[in-house]
Each structure stands twice: as structure tokens, then as C-alpha cells.
Symmetry: C2
DNA sequence: GATAGTAGGTACCTAGAGGAAAGTGACTAT
DNA sequence: ATAGTCACTTTCCTCTAGGTACCTACTATC
């Protein structure tokens, strides 16, 4: 299901970086630094523990997040953004800037489209 | 289903720009210029007509794509990227560059992760 | 009469993503 | 003895994105 985008050279990186929940997780880790599981869970708010686990595993596998397990009681696990993950920061900043300048235009386009017809 | 990401200021723009199939469509329109429906369909390859229609409508509604209908027989419809859509070009270029430098690192991280354990 | 091309629309069906809720294990605090 | 904490895991359920197949209207071609 990931194959179809041979027409687009950025498709693979989009799959990795912009799949569901990855940007809130990476953003939060980059913004607030190293965090434990429940901290992430609370800050992101509406994500369920199961999905958060899945996404963190995927991000760890892709090398964007570093997971450190401390075998204490109760267990403690810390997540931090990796160097590779941090290399996405300027990209995210560009996105935020585009958003600031152009999100309103998208809204206006939607209003126009929905009004007529 | 779009609400949960209040923790992340780029979440709205990610929803608009990086939802499924949008990058291949925008990329193709930007690369090859104005095109008809079947041209897009063939170039992207594995997309079905129904989904392509859905995505094009969404992109048109968001103001990223301009649709021009010529009431001839047989009907002719042309799609082109809008100015707002073109404003994404530098962003896509940054993504392509990140991809060139770091996609291999993601691959290596995956190999490491899958090997141990 | 049959077929193909054009740009879709519509109805039906299925696979998979994601949510809700409960369980786990080992220890601590009350 | 009970409840609570942490970081999940597991089971069950729902919902929707996307696929398949067929339909439209009109013309040209064989």
C-alpha cells in the first residue's frame, strides 16, 4: 500500500515523516525535550496508549526517536528525539511559516467553493 | 478525526498538503504542467479513477488546483496547479533534499532495529 | 449494432486503522 | 489488604478509506 507513488520522489519521506501522529510526537519531543510515556500521552491529549506505543516504535525503528528503558520499579522509559529527528526541524519551521502565510487562503478557497453550488 | 493534534502547530497544514495521494498529484501537475484527467491517471499509475476524482476535488476546494471544464463532446477537463499550490514548491524541494541526504540513514536504522531482537 | 473514448457518478464490499476497556507484573504507600 | 503507578499488551469493536464493477451521455469508428 506504500508502493503506488513512483511518480513522486518525495513519497517515501512523506510516508516516514508525515504519517498519522508522527508530527505531534516529534514536535512535542523537540519542544519539551526528553519525556516519559505518560508525559507524551498527556501532552498530546487525545491519542490512546496503544496508538502512541505503535507510533513510538515506528519512529524508533526509523531512527527518529531514541528509547531508553530503565528496569526499575515502577518501570521508567524515556523518549528523546534523535539527531536524525532534529535534522527535520528546519523543515518543520518552513511548514509552520507556510502555514502562517497561507492557511487563511486555503480557508477562503474553501468558503468560496462551498458557497457557489 | 482531524481535531486531535492541538499539540502541534503544523498539524493543519500536514492534513491539507500531505494527505494521501496529494503529493504525487501536486508533483505531477507541477512537473508536467496542465493535464487532463486521463493523463494524470496514467502518469500516477496505480490510483483508481474514483480516488483520483476525490483527491482532485479536495485539492480544488483547498485552492491548490484549478479545474477547467470545457463542455465539448467528448468532455474535456483540464487540471493545473494554482499559484497557492506553486508556493509549496520550495517546501517540496527541501523535502527532496532531506530525502537525498537522510533516507539511507532511515534504512540503516531499520536494518539495525530488525536485526537485534 | 457493437465498441471505444471521455470524465466522471454511484452502489456495494472488504481490509485495515484506530478507539475503548481491561489485564499484567512488580513493587510501594496507606 | 487494598489501591496506585508505569508502560505497555491484548481483545474486541467500529468506522472509513479505498477497491471493483457498473452506469451516464454523446460522438466517431468499424
Amino acid at each position: 500500500m506504500t508502493a503506488p507513488e513512483q511518480a513522486c520522489p518525495i513519497a517515501p519521506v512523506v510516508d516516514i515523516v508525515f504519517s498519522r501522529w508522527t508530527t505531534p510526537i516529534l514536535w512535542t519531543l523537540n519542544e519539551y525535550g526528553t519525556q516519559r510515556f505518560v508525559e507524551l500521552e498527556r501532552r498530546i491529549g487525545t491519542i490512546t496508549a496503544k496508538v502512541l506505543t505503535q507510533r513510538l516504535r515506528q519512529l524508533e525503528r526509523d531512527g527518529l526517536v531514541v528509547r531508553t528503558y530503565h528496569p526499575e520499579v515502577p518501570p521508567r522509559v524515556e523518549y528523546e528525539i534523535s539527531e536524525l529527528g532534529r535534522s527535520l526541524a528546519p523543515l518543520f519551521a518552513s511548514l509552520a511559516e507556510w502555514s502562517q502565510h497561507n492557511l487563511a487562503k486555503v480557508e477562503q478557497a474553501r468558503l468560496r467553493y462551498d458557497k457557489k453550488d
